[in-house]
Amino acid sequence: MGPVARIQALVRESERVHVRGNGSKPALHIHAAAAAPVDLSALNGVIDYQASEYTITAYAGASVADIAAALAEQGQYLPFDPLFPAEATIGGTVAANLSGSRRFRYGGVRDFILGAQVVDGRGRAFRVGGKVVKNAAGFDLSKFLVGSLGQYAIMTELTFKVFPDVPRFRSLRFNYGTLDAALKAIYFSNQNVYELDALDLLPAEDGWSLLARLGGYEETLPRRTERFADGMMQGAAACAVSEVADEASLWDPLAGLPGRYLCKVVLGPRQIPALDALIGNASRRYGVGGNLAWIASDDCAEIEQALKQLGLSGLCLRGDRPTPIIGRPVDNVLAQRVKQVLDPQNKLV
């Protein structure tokens, strides 16, 4: 029996089933301790990589590090920038929808997934989406898998669009006295021609830091960096601006976020001041131009309370929570209908 058939059999025979890859997001698994574990270890590695097609297909259990290494050999990368580049599997990255800072340039997981092979809650193995960079046939269930937490279907194989990577980077740090001033700087940048690879906002010693990364050709970067710095200083003056020498170290959004609990919150930059005022004790970083919050703390109640108050939902990645979703409950009639079709007995948890 092949690995996919084994998963199908397991689903058919079990009452509850749960997928766990490398366990880089422990909070996603606590609620399912009693469910039969799906073993993805046999579904590891790249299946098909066509650099000239900008597509790669890998088993869901493949580590994002292996995929990134294969791509790097051809000067390509996953533009959604997987969040746990050293530990995560690609399946877990899709299921939890976790992109890193470089997502700012071209888009997130949903923008690069092309298709998948899955096993649903009825034990059926089938394909969703396509394998070419453009496809409009049938319902796009592959996008639906993004953020689905393995509760609708178990991914066994995934196909992505990939892009050529840029050869060089430069990063700048702008310091602002207030959150408001830093947000104004984001708004100014948003209405200009700068094409940034990443733009993250985080509290600093005397206020707030805005980190910006530019990627491109060696010969054009100095000019672009200079003109970006000048433009920003003119449009939204910062207290200080400096280029960061060891720039690669800036771009792990989770570095420097200690705490027993870690969660992801999706929001718009305009919602940041209200949220930030309520979670002042937590460590936090607002990624993707302020469209995403990474919050870490030993006190999850404070975070949960803040999210509820603002009508936001969060996904806990770390910490001992009975369920990973906190804040406003996530419940949607369209998602329920899909569940009804793919997993009517609620086997996948």
Partner: protein, 483 residues
């Protein structure tokens, strides 16, 4: 059923003058941009508010009346073909841009807003709405969502799906729901429902309010037009560009016949060639300048016999105008034609074009090729004369063979036009019986009475016979004539 009880109830939702039932009002809604199919709807309703749409859908569900939501009727797959004894819900009057937030790069719009109007509204803030189907001057966002419309610039920034962040929808059974959010991240916590809804071809329900992502207008475009005396060589040039690590905003190829049509239509001044390749770089000026030097070298090595660079916005517009009007311009070369839409892996483009060449000789029909080479999306235009008995059927058969070819090369039967009416019978070429069953089950879970855009996407069901439009009567009378 559309009985008098239905109309009485409908008139309570919408005033009678916005319910069209006379022949002169219904006939113009008979078909969209795929005129091989036309069916007169039972009625057309013109809602002017979200509440009217919701109530109308709920009424249709209650009385099991099938409905088709319609924007500007530019579908090339018959996606908005009406249903006889069904209702057309024409969304053109819901055309407000409800919110434009350039600081967050977001727009919130109603479904009847025209694609290009969003870009026009965002332009003063240095932003634009990226997806640019050829019909962008008139097609609506609602239709773009139903069919996940693409365009020439999908390679870098994706299709409609990649630019919709959130929406409020009424499902076919009347349930009202919202998903996604006003964040560039789009998907909140939980599965990507926006991604599922976009491209569902109107089978799930109607989008009432849509949050879109805006992008910064590129500071600089560098548009290059290269002429080749061989179609294959143009295809090879695309592979060379890709291999170089460049990521152009668009790469388009037109063959001789398509060039001829475009010339006849807009006199773009294209060179006389077997194939034209348009490559467009876009982005921050210093970076684009550097990329352009690299691109020039690649094109020069690729065997192009002529290379033109657009030096002004006007010249760029002219290059694109010929390309964007190419479909309709084929109307100047042939009384009738079918636009096809298939995808092949980019590396197999050459192979696909050779095979299409062989097929057209076999069928004795002309085929013009216009395609988004960057993502392997072919648009063969099959020319035929509908006045000739059997010609339409032969053209349809050839179209089918081209689709089978795309699938056999590992591609797709549609890149951006959708399945609609036209390609229902080809769905099994891409998906197994079980996969289609699952999609059907999903559809029924959302729309148990199968009232939303009934007859589209899935094979089977009563297909309307292909009909020939024929000459305009004034043409027959000799009052007007063709060149």
């Amino acid at each position: 059923m559309m009985n008098s009880a239905f109309f009485t109830a409908l008139e309570k939702i919408c005033p009678a003058e916005r319910i069209l039932t006379r022949d002169a009002q219904l006939l113009p809604y008979e078909s969209d941009a795929l005129t091989a199919f036309h069916l007169k709807p039972g009625a057309v309703v013109l809602p002017e508010s979200e509440a009217e749409i919701i109530d109308t859908v709920r009424l249709c569900h209650e009385m099991a009346v099938p409905f088709v939501a319609r924007g500007s009727g530019t579908s090339l797959s018959g996606g908005s073909l009406p249903i006889p004894d069904g209702l057309v819900i024409a969304l053109n009057r819901l055309n407000r841009i409800k919110k434009l937030d350039p600081e967050q790069r977001i727009a919130v719009v109603e479904p009847g807003v025209v694609n290009l109007h969003i870009t026009q509204a965002a332009a003063p803030y240095g932003l634009y709405y990226a997806p640019d189907p050829s019909s962008q001057s008139i097609c609506t966002i609602g239709g773009n969502i139903a069919f996940n419309s693409g365009g020439a610039h999908c390679l870098k920034y994706g299709m409609t799906s990649n630019h919709v962040l959130g929406m409020k929808v009424v499902l076919a059974d009347g349930a009202l729901t919202q998903f996604g959010c006003e964040s560039v991240e789009g998907v909140g916590i939980g599965p990507d429902l926006v991604g599922l809804f976009v491209g569902s071809e109107g089978l799930f329900g109607i989008a009432l309010e849509i949050t879109l992502r805006l992008m910064p207008q590129p500071e600089l475009y560098r548009t290059v037009l290269a002429a080749y005396d061989d179609l294959g060589r143009a295809g090879d040039a695309v592979s060379m560009v890709v291999a170089s690590g460049l990521l152009p905003g668009a790469m388009e190829i037109m063959d001789r016949l398509a060039i001829k049509a475009a010339e006849a239509s807009v006199a773009a001044g294209y060179p006389d060639a077997e194939a034209l390749l348009i490559v467009e770089l876009e982005g921050e000026a210093p970076q684009v300048q550097a990329e352009f030097e690299q691109l020039r070298g690649i094109i020069e090595d690729s065997g192009a016999f002529e290379l033109r660079v657009a030096n002004s916005e006007e010249e760029r517009d002219r290059i694109w105008k010929g390309r964007k009007g190419a479909f309709s311009a084929v109307g100047r070369l042939s009384p009738d034609y079918i636009v096809q839409d298939g995808v092949v892996p980019r590396s197999r483009l050459g192979e696909a074009l050779l095979a299409i060449g062989a097929l057209k000789r076999q069928y004795g029909l002309d085929v013009a090729n216009v395609f988004h080479a960057g993502d392997g999306n072919l648009h063969p235009l099959i020319l035929y004369d509908g006045r000739e008995p059997g010609a339409l059927e032969r053209a349809e058969e050839l179209a089918g063979e081209i689709l089978a070819l795309c699938v056999s090369l590992g591609g797709s039967i549609t890149g951006e036009h959708g399945i609609g009416m036209e390609k229902r019978e080809y769905l099994p070429a891409m998906f197994s019986e079980e996969e289609i069953d699952i999609m059907q089950a999903l559809r029924r879970a959302i729309d148990p009475k199968e009232i939303a855009n009934r007859g589209k996407m899935f094979p089977g069901g009563e297909a309307p016979a292909l009909k020939q439009q024929g000459m305009h009567p004034l043409e027959k009378q000799g009052i007007i004539s063709r060149e």
